[in-house]
Symmetry: C2
Subunit: 390 residues, 2 copies
C-alpha cells in the first residue's frame, strides 16, 4: 500500500437547488475539483461516486455510468465508474474506495465524488427514502423514521448522563454560527438557544432545529499517489488513515444505543493506522444528522469521555476557537445534508482548513483533521484522518 494525497477539491452550494439537476450538481463539483488539481478529465483513471438513493429521489440508478457520460468521459476512454452506497455514509465510502484504488497501486488519478438531489420529490417520499437507511422490516414498517430513532438515542443519553436539551441546542447554535461564515452553506443564519428550544417538536426531545435539513448538493475530490502530488499542487493533503466499520442496521440489537460501536471501531482502527490518538486531532467534521449525533460522535471518537459530550459543548470546547473545533463547515445541521455528498463534503472542508483556505471560519491550528461519516443510526461508520504531513 502506498501513500495517497488529495490534489483537488470541489463543492457546489448546498441547499434547495430547484434550478439544478443531479447531473448539473455532479458536473459542477467534478469540474471544480479538476480545475483545482489543474488536470483534465482524460487524466483520470477511475471514478467512485457515493449516492444513497437516486433510485427513489430521481428514479435513476446506474449513476456511475450517468456521471461518466455527463462529465464527457464516456466513449473512447474506458473509465471504470463505481457507485457505492451506505446510506448517509455513501460519500465517505466513495472516498475510502478511491483511496484504496490509489493506495493499492491499481489506479493513479482517481476521483471520489458524492451527489444527492433530494428536493425533486414530495417531502413524504424523501422521508420514506431516508427511512430505507434503517431496518425497514423492524424499524421503518413500525413507523420509526430517523428523528424517532435518534430521539430514542437522545432520551437514553439524557437518562444515563444527564445531557440536557440546552446542550443539544448548543450544537445547533454553534453549527449555525459556523455555517454563517460558509458561503456554500444551506443556512447562513445565526440562531440562539431560545430559538432552538422554542422550535417545533419533531420527536421528543428533538425539535426542528435539532435536525439536519433536506439538501441538494455535490462534492468531489481528486486523489493521487503521494509521491507525485506536488506535480499538481503546492498544498497536498495526505490521507493518513481510512477506516470503515459495520454494526447491526437496527438499534434494538445494540449493546448500548448511546454508543455507535461502528464509530468506535472505525476510529480505533484509524488512529492505529495513523499512529496517533484522538488528542492529536486539531479539528473534525462529524456526522451531526441530529444534535445528539454530534454529542455521541465526539464521545465515540475519543475526544471526550462517554457522557461528557453535552457539558463540553456547552463550555465551548467544540467551538471554532475551542480546544477541538467540530464541524467548522456548519456540519450536516447547518451546511446541509445531501446524504450521498456529505462524506465527501466533510473531507473538502477539512482539506480547505488544512490548506488555510477556509476564510472567516479558518481554524487557527489545522494540521491534522478527521472526518466521521455515519450510515443510518450507525450500521456503517467511516473515519478518515487527513494531514498536511505525509
Amino acid at each position: 500500500m502506498r501513500d495517497v494525497a488529495i490534489i483537488g477539491i470541489g463543492c457546489t452550494h448546498f441547499g434547495e437547488m430547484w434550478e439544478r439537476s443531479f447531473r448539473d450538481l455532479f458536473v459542477e463539483a467534478g469540474s471544480d475539483a479538476l480545475d483545482d488539481a489543474a488536470i483534465h478529465g482524460e487524466e483520470i483513471d477511475a471514478l467512485y461516486v457515493g449516492n444513497m438513493s437516486a433510485g427513489r429521489f430521481i428514479d435513476q440508478e446506474h449513476v456511475g455510468a450517468l456521471i461518466v457520460d455527463y462529465a464527457g468521459l464516456a466513449g473512447s476512454l474506458h473509465m471504470p465508474s463505481t457507485r457505492v452506497e451506505a446510506a448517509c455514509a455513501s460519500g465517505g465510502l466513495a472516498l475510502r474506495q478511491a483511496f484504496l484504488a490509489v493506495a493499492s497501486g491499481h489506479h493513479d488519478i482517481v476521483v471520489a465524488a458524492g451527489v444527492e438531489k433530494m428536493t425533486d420529490v414530495e417531502t413524504e417520499t424523501t422521508i420514506d427514502a431516508l427511512a430505507s437507511a434503517a431496518d425497514r422490516e423492524w424499524e421503518g414498517f413500525m413507523g420509526a423514521t430517523f428523528p424517532g430513532l435518534y430521539a430514542m438515542i437522545a432520551r437514553l443519553h439524557m437518562h444515563k448522563y444527564g445531557t440536557t436539551q440546552e446542550q443539544l441546542a448548543q450544537v445547533a447554535v454553534k453549527n449555525h454560527h459556523n455555517a454563517a461564515m460558509n458561503p456554500k452553506a444551506q443556512y447562513k443564519n445565526e440562531i440562539s438557544t431560545s430559538v432552538v428550544l422554542n422550535s417545533a417538536m419533531i420527536a421528543d426531545p428533538l425539535r426542528i432545529y435539532d435536525c439536519s435539513p433536506i439538501t441538494d448538493g455535490a462534492a468531489a475530490i481528486v486523489l493521487a499517489p503521494a509521491e507525485v502530488a506536488r506535480r499538481f499542487t503546492d498544498t497536498p493533503v495526505y490521507v493518513s488513515a481510512s477506516a470503515q466499520a459495520s454494526d447491526t442496521i437496527a438499534l434494538h440489537d445494540r449493546r448500548d444505543i448511546t454508543t455507535l460501536d461502528a464509530t468506535v471501531h472505525a476510529a480505533r482502527w484509524a488512529y492505529k493506522r495513523a499512529g496517533i490518538g484522538p488528542e492529536d486531532i486539531h479539528l473534525a467534521e462529524v456526522h451531526d444528522c441530529f444534535t445528539i449525533a454530534e454529542i455521541c460522535a465526539i464521545e465515540d471518537l475519543g475526544f471526550v469521555k462517554k457522557g461528557e459530550g453535552g457539558p463540553v459543548t456547552e463550555e465551548g470546547m467544540t467551538a471554532l476557537d475551542g480546544k477541538i473545533p467540530i464541524n467548522p463547515s456548519g456540519g450536516l445541521k447547518a451546511c446541509g445534508h445531501p446524504v450521498g455528498a456529505t462524506g465527501v463534503k466533510q473531507a473538502v472542508e477539512i482539506i480547505s482548513q488544512l490548506r488555510g483556505e477556509a476564510g472567516k471560519r479558518q481554524v487557527a491550528k489545522a494540521e491534522m483533521g478527521l472526518t466521521h461519516n455515519v450510515g443510518g443510526t450507525g450500521g456503517t461508520a467511516i473515519v478518515h484522518i487527513l494531514s498536511i504531513n505525509r
Copy 2:
C-alpha cells in the same frame, strides 16, 4: 498486485421465491459459500455486495449493513461491508471490488455477493425500477423501457447484418436447453423455435421468449490470496483478469448501437491482462438480458466477427457441445436474472464448470472461462477471466 483465487461458491435457487425474503436469500448464498470454503464468518475480512435497486424493490437501502447484521457478523467484528451498484452489472462489480481488495493486499478473505428480491412489488414498479438503469431523462421519461431499447439494437443488427428472428430464437432455445439441466434455474423447460416465434410480441422484433424474466435470487463467492488457496480447497479457481469499462448511459450518443463499446474495452483489457486472446476461452457466461444481447456479446467479446453472432448461434457453435459453449447455466434468459445477483451467479457457474462439478451440463473442456456482465444497455460492462491455472 497479488494473485487472487476463489475458494468457495454459493447460490440460491433462482425464481419467484415468495416464501423467502431478501435477507434469507443473501444468508443462504453466503452460508453455502462459507461452507464450500470450509471457513467461518469470523475469518472474513470484508464484504462487497452487488444490488441494483433494493430501494425500489424492498424499500431498503444500506444493504451492506443489513447483510452484515443478518449474517451474524455485526457487533464485536468491525467488518467493512460495501454495497456497489451498476444496474444489472452490480454483481460483477461486487466481484471486481472484492478482487481488488484481495489483489491489493488490503484484505485477505473477502466475500463478493449479489442479491436481488424483485417479486415483492407489482410488475409495473419492477419495470419502472429496471428502467432506472437507462437514462431516465432521455430514455425512461420518453417511454423507452428495456425491451424497447434492446429492440432498437436488434432492429439495427438485423438491418446491418441480416440477423433473423429465427437466430434470435435459437439463443432462447439453447439457453432453455441448458437451464433444463440446471437444478437452480428458474425455467427448466425446453422450448422449440416455433414456441419462441409464436410467443407474444413485447417490442418488435423481441417476443416474450426473447426476454429474460423477473427473478429473486442470490449468489456469493469467497476470495483469498492465491498463495493460501489450497489451504481451503483442492480446486481453487484463479482470477486471471478483472476489467470494467463505461460508456454513455443512453443509446442515442453511441457511435453504433449494435456494438457495446464498454464490452469491447473491458474485454480487450481483460485479454491483455490475462495474456490471452478470445480464442483461448473455453466457455463463457454472457449477459443475455435479451436474445439480441447474447448475439452482440459474442461478437463484442471477440469470439466471432461482428455480424456473425446470429449465424454461428444457428449453427450450434455456442451450444454445450459447440466450439465455445455460451451460457451453460441457462443464462439470464432461462436460469433467471435477479439483477444484482447475476454477475456473481455467472462466476459461480464458470467456477462450477472449471471444477468439473456442473453435472449434466458439464462442458467437456473447461479450463479457462469468461464472465460478461452488463449494466443497462452497456453504460457499464464488466469482464472476468477465470482459470484453473494460476
